[in-house]
């Protein structure tokens, strides 16, 4: 099953090709083709894993737990497909939204390096290998954030790098403790050892270190400060890419670790996760409401929405985990899309500041449509994807008797709706302010709006076909709640 490694190898091959190809136009076409190949492959893996449940590849023929193992289960397959779709949208978007000076600095090369890191993190079955992919992601995203070398960008990039490096140190420390106690870093082997370990309380030290590391990556409540400090500085293409992928890798790692082997003390961990989820939702949502820069509003919104995913993990019933996964997919699509639309607004009206823009509903109804779909999805209005995601989570919360967090989730929906309505009112409904009228352009080319339209379509389809998608995700969640199949497949028991 060498195909399992292809989500890593395709970006690597693309990087080699892009090192050789010097022509901008050619690089754009090749990159778009590469992301399409990645998408086709992920869908193939998604269908394949539906048959086989867990697919395993022992790199170099060294069997688990000795070598590095690549594992694809349903959760990984779903994440890979969503990532590839977003990758394609961004690859097309970048052709129009990167100024020529930026393109020369090799956006696409580091774009594929980032995709390689993200895909690697999704399919690895080894804790140290996960650390390596995190570093690949961190380095390539650092270069992406600094492309263009403006002063504000460098300031944002330094904050981003410093706080994420602290996260990496926590990761490494937790990893060392884990290895010291168990003598293995293979996730399935760890799960096998820890599941019936009487001394599991000793694991809490490294669990906390991992929680802080992933919490920084995922931008949960007390650890999110790097995100609003850096996401509004780079080119909007890079912001959209980060918004869609980076924090979700942290969430993925949290879900993986806290369902597979850090399951010894549910009373402590799940309550902690729920408390953090609640604070993350509310504080992210409230901070978003005070800003008028569309990128800042959306950045704080990323944080607010991470709360929902952590909430699903905290409730910890199969239905809640399914809700968390559904929400993650929906959020990746919709969140990337609203960032893309913010870029289009900037292109048409010359600003990210909502006070300086307006009148888009009359001049560009198409842009209004591609904004309102992900906007409503984020706010949780049926029939778009977000409604079902929130519905599953809140239902799971009530079923499990977690009324407080469910109530917080419902109220946070209001905050989200408020922010989306604010952007809608300011950018689309109100008239363009007189003093900024000379910035106005009205023409949108097909290639500019195509990525947003594609992702809006995906959000819509995710809502309309919520039932088959939910069935698939429910199976993924059951797989996570009962990891016996995962363990036996990887360890070949």
């Amino acid at each position: 099953m060498n195909a399992i490694a292809l989500p890593i190898l395709i970006p690597l091959i693309m990087m080699v090709i892009l090192m050789i190809v010097r022509n901008n136009k050619a690089a754009q076409w090749i990159s778009s083709a590469g992301t399409i190949a990645l998408f086709v492959l992920s869908v193939y893996l998604l269908l394949e894993v539906n048959q086989k449940e867990v697919m395993v590849l022992y790199l170099g023929g060294w069997e688990a737990p000795f070598g590095i193992t690549l594992v694809i289960d349903r959760l990984s397959a779903v994440m890979l497909s969503t990532t590839a779709l977003i990758g394609f949208a961004i690859a097309v978007y970048a052709t129009k939204f990167f100024t020529p000076a930026h393109r020369e600095s090799r956006f696409y090369f580091f774009f594929f390096a980032l995709l390689m890191g993200v895909n690697g993190a999704f399919i690895t079955g080894d804790v140290f290998n996960l650390y390596v992919w995190f570093e690949v992601m961190l380095m390539s995203s650092f270069v992406l954030i600094t492309l263009g070398s403006k002063r504000a960008q460098l300031e944002g990039a330094i904050k981003y790098l410093a706080l994420n490096l602290i996260g990496s140190m926590f990761f490494l420390a937790g990893l060392g403790l884990l290895y010291g106690k168990t003598g293995t870093l293979n996730m399935a082997h760890l799960a096998q050892i820890l599941i019936d370990d009487r001394n599991a309380i000793l694991m809490n030290t490294s669990a906390v270190l991992f929680f802080i590391a992933f919490g920084i990556k995922a931008a949960v409540f007390p650890l999110f400060f790097w995100l609003p400090a850096s996401y509004h500085t780079p080119n909007i293409t890079v912001s959209s890419l980060f918004a869609g992928l980076l924090t979700k890798v942290g969430v993925y790692a949290l879900i993986r670790f806290f369902t597979l082997f850090f399951v010894q003390e549910p009373a402590f961990w799940h309550n902690l996760l729920l408390v953090i989820a609640g604070f993350t939702m509310v504080i992210g949502g409230m901070s978003a409401s005070i800003y008028y820069d569309s990128r800042r509003i959306l950045s704080y919104h990323i944080i607010s929405q991470i709360g929902y995913m952590v909430m699903g993990l905290g409730i910890f019933t199969p239905l809640a985990i399914a809700g968390a996964i559904f929400f993650t997919i929906h959020n990746m699509l919709a969140k990337t899309n609203v960032f893309l639309v913010a870029g289009i607004i900037r292109k048409l009206r010359g600003s990210f500041d909502l006070k300086k823009v307006g009148g888009l509903f009359n001049s560009n109804p198409a842009v209004a449509v591609v904004f309102i779909i992900p906007g409503l999805a984020l706010a949780g209005v049926p029939p778009v994807s977000g409604f079902f995601a929130k519905f599953i989570l809140i239902k799971a919360g009530f079923d499990a008797g977690q009324y407080l967090i469910s109530g917080v989730a419902i109220l946070t929906g209001m905050l989200t709706l408020y922010s989306m309505i604010k952007i809608w009112n300011e950018a689309f409904l109100k008239a363009q302010p007189k003093e900024y009228e000379k910035e106005v352009k009205t023409r949108v080319t097909f290639a500019e709006i195509f990525p947003s339209a594609l992702l809006a379509m995906a959000s819509l389809l995710l809502g309309i076909f919520a039932s088959p998608v939910f069935n698939y995700i429910m199976k993924a969640a059951e797989q996570l709640s009962d990891p016996v199949n995962y363990i036996t497949s990887v360890l070949n028991l």
């Binding site: 060498n2 490694a5 690597l12 080699v16 090192m19 050789i20 590849l57 170099g60 023929g61």
Partner: protein, 137 residues
């Protein structure tokens, strides 16, 4: 920094660093060492020259440009995976070729070593590029 001592020393220190890099690369497979560490040492040789002169000069004095090193390194990494796949093994499975040298000696060359060379070249390229970028700011 403009120091004559550093400039003259850099000539010899670079030689030592580069030899150490090659040594670490060759020692790699079963003992501590390997492509990554070797690459860092070799990158350090360039950095040393960068401190003694300027980073621009250090880069210009490299016969192989860092971009070329990264591209060829990554290509070699990819190529090293092909023999294993052709033999129907798992990805990155080590395939070893033995070259006999006289009676009791032989040289073993395997795909893990080729992989290490690829990593070696890539790491040199990345180290130099990163330092150049950070130095420009």
């Amino acid at each position: 920094m403009n120091s004559v001592i550093l400039k003259i020393a850099s000539r010899y220190v670079r030689l030592i660093l580069f030899s150490a890099a090659i040594f670490a690369l060759l020692r790699g497979h079963n003992l501590p060492g390997g492509g990554f560490i070797g690459g860092l040492l070799a990158g350090l040789a360039v950095v040393y020259k960068g401190f003694a002169y300027t980073f621009r000069e250090a880069r210009q004095s490299m016969r192989l440009k860092p971009e070329f090193l990264i591209a060829s390194g990554l290509s070699i990494v990819l190529l090293s995976m092909i023999p294993g796949i052709l033999n129907g093994k798992n990805l990155m499975h080590g395939i070893w070729y033995k070259i006999p040298l006289g009676e009791a000696m032989e040289i073993k060359i395997g795909t893990p070593f080729i992989f290490d060379i690829g990593v070696f070249l890539t790491v040199i390229g990345v180290t130099v590029i990163f330092l150049l970028v950070l130095n420009r700011e």
